[in-house]
């Protein structure tokens, strides 16, 4: 291994493009780089567009980061002139998520002009840094007890069981071979229980300011306690933060989520945000059969009929729909706001969301009782 490997000169520009992608948070495996080079060789020196397509096909940037991919491509292969136009049209799966500086990365240093664009928008978008604080008892309780206490449903995979509706023919046959073809005992199969999906929709508008930090910590704890947790934040926009919250270290995860969400402490358009959620089939399907938990005070600035319609649709998809509001902290709570009154008949639970302990205790009770 004394000979030093030299990368062919022609390949360097492509390999360095892969490096640029990696710096910007694209996961590219070495085998993908090889495939990229093979693809370019295969397509021949045709056009820049062919190289872009070869990259898309082999390096497989996720569609919601396609705009970033294109921008990096233009920077690398064309030069920085092309950045302005490319940055302006962020198109992707979720329009709401990608308005403003909705993309999930901090990107290059020379992209300062982007934040100027965002600031010019009507709403004041305030980026938030999470304060690091000690984990509460409630969160520890959540992490500890969630796997056993959250709702389960019967899955479609079958497993061996003492009793069950299906015969395990494979095992029965194997055993019968040992007994000269006599079937002494019929093995059985049953359906395996699987954890139900949990969908958390967190209101991050100004009126929820006091709760936002704790709610995000709770979302992080829940994401790590059980599988299949999807988390969205909403205020004037809707943002999917599930991926960011999957980072193991809490501070890291919360700061990644904070980068994504651009409408902290702004106004509330719950109805529009939920409509937007339901309009993206990919997102809407997260709610199907899931335990949906909305953490919001329900102080709607938009049209209450849009909210009512969205909640009705959501409740038809969800297995159980819970609305946790800090307004319900006191005993004998009665909904006062127009929005809460409108949606009351569609939600399964309308309960206290005023403290982490209250939310945790409700979440842990999801599997047991269903409110009348």
């Amino acid at each position: 291994m004394s000979e030093e490997f030299q990368l062919p000169h022609a390949a360097r520009v492509f390999v360095s493009f892969v490096a640029l992608l990696r710096i910007n948070g694209f996961a590219v495996a070495p085998e993908q780089t090889t495939a990229f080079l093979a693809a370019i060789e295969l397509l021949g020196p045709r056009s820049l567009e062919a190289i872009r397509q070869a990259g898309l096909a082999t390096l497989a940037p996720p569609p919601e980061r396609r705009a970033t991919y294109d921008r990096l491509f233009d920077i690398h292969f064309i030069g920085s002139e092309a950045i302005d136009q490319a940055g302006a049209e962020d198109e992707g799966v979720v329009r709401l998520q990608e308005e403003g500086r909705g993309e999930d990365e901090t990107l290059l240093a020379d992209e300062a002009n982007e934040s100027g664009l965002a600031a010019a928008r009507a709403e004041a978008l305030v980026e938030r840094r999470f304060a690091v604080s000690a984990t509460g008892d409630a969160l520890r309780k959540l992490s500890r007890e969630a796997p056993a206490r959250l709702p389960r449903r019967r899955g479609h995979r079958r497993m061996r069981a003492r009793r069950g509706p299906w015969a395990d023919l494979r095992r029965t046959l194997r055993e019968s071979v040992r007994n000269d073809g006599e079937v002494l005992r019929l093995g059985r199969l049953k359906r395996r229980a699987r954890p139900r999906k949990v969908l958390l929709l967190i209101d991050v508008s100004g009126s929820m300011k006091g709760r936002t930090d704790d709610n995000m910590k709770l979302a992080h704890a829940l994401s790590h306690a059980i599988p299949h947790v999807e988390v969205f934040t909403f205020g004037t926009r809707l943002t999917r933060v599930s991926r960011a919250l999957r980072l193991k270290r809490r501070e890291q995860a919360l700061s990644a989520a904070a980068h994504l969400v651009s409408d902290w402490d702004g106004g509330t358009r719950i109805g529009d945000a939920l409509q937007a959620f339901l309009a993206v089939p990919r997102f809407g399907s997260y709610a199907r059969g899931a335990a949906v938990v909305i953490l919001s005070d329900g102080l709607e600035r938009g049209d209450p009929s849009a909210l009512q319609d969205a909640v009705a649709r959501l409740s038809r998809r969800a297995w159980r729909l819970s609305w946790l509001t800090p307004l319900a902290a006191g005993p004998g709570f009665q909904p006062q706001t127009e929005a809460l009154i409108a949606i009351r008949r569609f939600v399964d639970d309308l309960v206290d969301g005023g403290s982490t302990a209250a939310i945790v205790s409700h979440v842990l009770s999801l599997g047991q009782k269903k409110a009348a």
Partner: protein, 293 residues
């Protein structure tokens, strides 16, 4: 890089695009490039996109172009190896044991093996295209199992040993993205995100698929469908719905319905969700009139 034998006569993405057109599939540059690279590099092709953009159709067209049989494995929650790979014919095995008496028999012989799609494509890699449809519906156990298959193109059957493909089979995977696929799976594939086609391309698709439809009708339908896709609907109309709508409206028109009315009365083939119909009902007249103009 030697181009593999399975794409004889197709030496560029453009050539593949032309070939796909003869199979009644209009692919854009991106899809043609990805499909060409997949075939030439011997990697599986992973197609993602909204429901109804033509992912499965693309796989069928590729099979037609290559002159191969399409083996389709529809994924669903709980799908496992016995549904995807092979299953033993237990009653037959049992009967064989009974009949054999004192003789020894091999109950794990070929005659007792029921071939499922993945094994079938592995054993005949030259004559089939394996379509693994809607992989996002399968659970993660199955995805992990698939990873093994896609990296080595071999399957081990405990009772018989390993089956290995002499040549890598052509594999197309599709996903509606109802959940994030594992990065490792994406890495092994050539990837393409299929967008809804441009209005121009979609109008050509409609006319190609439904020959009885006039060009003006196709354009109006495509314009209306484009507007519907921008609305917050729970199920936006796909390409197949656009084709159906154009055919249905043409049929109603031939039976005497006036034009905008024929569009409106046949909306049920494009929007199949009661909530969506209610949502759009107030503006449907204006939307169709605008599209038909």
């Amino acid at each position: 890089m030697t181009v593999r034998g399975n794409i004889v006569g197709i030496d560029s993405p453009e050539a593949l695009e032309r070939a796909l057109r003869t199979a009644y599939y209009l692919a854009d540059d991106g899809l043609a490039t990805a499909a060409y690279l997949g075939l030439a590099l011997g990697k599986p092709l992973l197609l993602e996109g909204s429901p109804g953009v033509g992912k499965t159709e693309a796989a069928k067209a590729i099979a037609a172009v290559l002159g191969r049989r399409l083996i389709r494995l529809q994924c669903y929650e709980g799908i496992d190896a016995s549904a995807a790979l092979y299953e033993w014919n237990y009653p037959r095995q049992m009967l064989a044991i009974r009949q054999a008496g004192e003789e020894s028999i091999d109950i794990y012989g070929e005659t007792f093996l029921i071939e499922r799609p993945m094994l079938a494509s592995l054993r005949a890699p030259d004559s089939t295209v394996l379509l693994i449809d809607e992989i996002d519906r399968a659970d993660q156990e199955f995805e992990a199992f698939l990873l093994e298959f896609l990296s080595d193109f071999q399957i081990s059957i405990p009772e018989r040993g390993t089956v290995r493909a002499a040549e890598r089979p052509v594999v197309v995977l599709t996903s509606n993205r109802t959940r994030d696929l594992h990065e490792a799976l994406r890495r092994r594939c050539v990837y393409h995100w299929i967008e809804y086609p441009t209005a121009e391309r979609e109008a050509r698709i409609v006319m190609m698929r439904a020959s009885s439809v006039a060009e003006a009708t196709a354009r109006a339908i495509v314009a209306a469908v484009g507007k519907l896709r921008r609305e917050p609907l729970s199920k936006a109309p796909g390409i197949a719905e656009a084709v159906d709508w154009a055919e249905a409206a043409t049929l109603l028109h031939e039976r005497g319905a006036r034009w905008p009315d024929a569009f409106k009365r046949s909306i049920g083939v494009a929007l199949k969700d009661e909530e969506d119909l209610t949502f759009i009902s107030g503006r449907l007249d204006a939307l169709i009139a605008e599209a038909a103009a």
